[in-house]
Amino acid sequence: MNLGYYPGCSLHGTSDDYQQSLKACFGALGVSLTELDDWICCGATAAHMLNRKLSIALPARNLALAVRQGCDELVAPCSMCSMQLKKAQRAMVQDAALAEEMATIVEAKPGATRVLNLIDVFERVGLEAIKTAVKAPLKDLKVACYYGCLLTRPPEVVEFDDCEQPESMDRIVEALGATAVAWNYKTECCGAGMTMANEETVLELSHKILADAAAHGAQCVAVACPMCHVNLDMKQAAIEARYGTKYGMTIYYLCDLVGLALGLTPRALGIDRHFAGRNA
């Protein structure tokens, strides 16, 4: 299976361990990626906070590139990127005048390219196929599957899983032989893009997530978003210092866990580049 690939700035920057992991994992599952040529930033929080038009135009430019490059399906492993791409698409479908204006602004016509998140790709491969490919079952591993905000919200935009009680990641983790724990903070916010601008917010919100995961017996947390990973992993030492606790919680990208179960090494998946936890 070959899919288009929109990495977004994070996966080519601080979170390139996520890209390393997903490429190794997809490779083992027979999924190849063709990176969208000359893609630009989706605008993220900055664009939708300060200029609505720009928050539609930047994704629209990438959707137009996808059409030009014959890409029908585009994997965007960052929840912010995939949500922004889908939100722009929906806005243009609902408003023909806006679609025309965008075609003028970005000098090309965006199309109906299907945008996929990380979990979509695993579902496309199929749970049964993943189960069959497992070489090193993750038995005895208790995982808190953390979905965060934008994988499932806003539901009309992302049209993915249940927005209050999502289960898709839990099913994948269980297919690997691990146990997905029941817990309360699956879809609570980690503080997202406030990592630098309002660190106190991130420490408070991410602390609650780690505390609830630990209270429900999780030994690690699985995420499918680079910002969630930054806040729970890179900021974990600061959270522990701020709240006088010790979690030592490993934060895995979902593809880390799939890769480990497929027999890939932590090093091949970039897990040695994480900050927190025993395996880091």
Partner: protein, 189 residues
Amino acid sequence: MKIPTQGDSIALLESLSQTKFADCYQCGKCTAGCPRSAHMDKMPNQLVRLLQLGQVDAALGSDAIWQCVSCETCTTRCPKKVDCAAVMDALRQVSYERGLTSKQQAAVVLFQKAFLDSVRRNGRVNEVEMIAQYKIEGFAAMRRLGFLFDGALLAPQLQMHRKLHLIGEKVRDRDLVRRIFARCMEVKE
């Protein structure tokens, strides 16, 4: 330049957020689910109420709009399909464009501005360049020496985990990126 009336501002905010403020019946579900409400000077439902009453300046000047983390929980749970998260965005955009943000909110605004400036120049975010601009402009606005060094200890750690990329990426068609920015950010009225 024409000074916008309250009516103009309401129409602009409704257009930016694609929301009719009158639709809200003040059930408070947005506020109940908001992870930041404890730190807000006005609750999300109160902001919408202010807009229903035409009190635009009070809404634009609130600190709450800069506390919002855009988690979209309010929008998701609203029984009347009021896009509360988009209302927050609309208030922030207009507040920013009219220069109403206070010194207290400078960090959030300047970070987002540094992010967009980096994208405008390169087509993608250059983390080092963005942080440098944010630190310089933030220090100039806040005059707090510690601000310059907040988080500086993370740099050697990032290096250790092979996550520090000093040379950022640039797209080829940067002229087009600049044209897109110019077309989106042209001053209205």
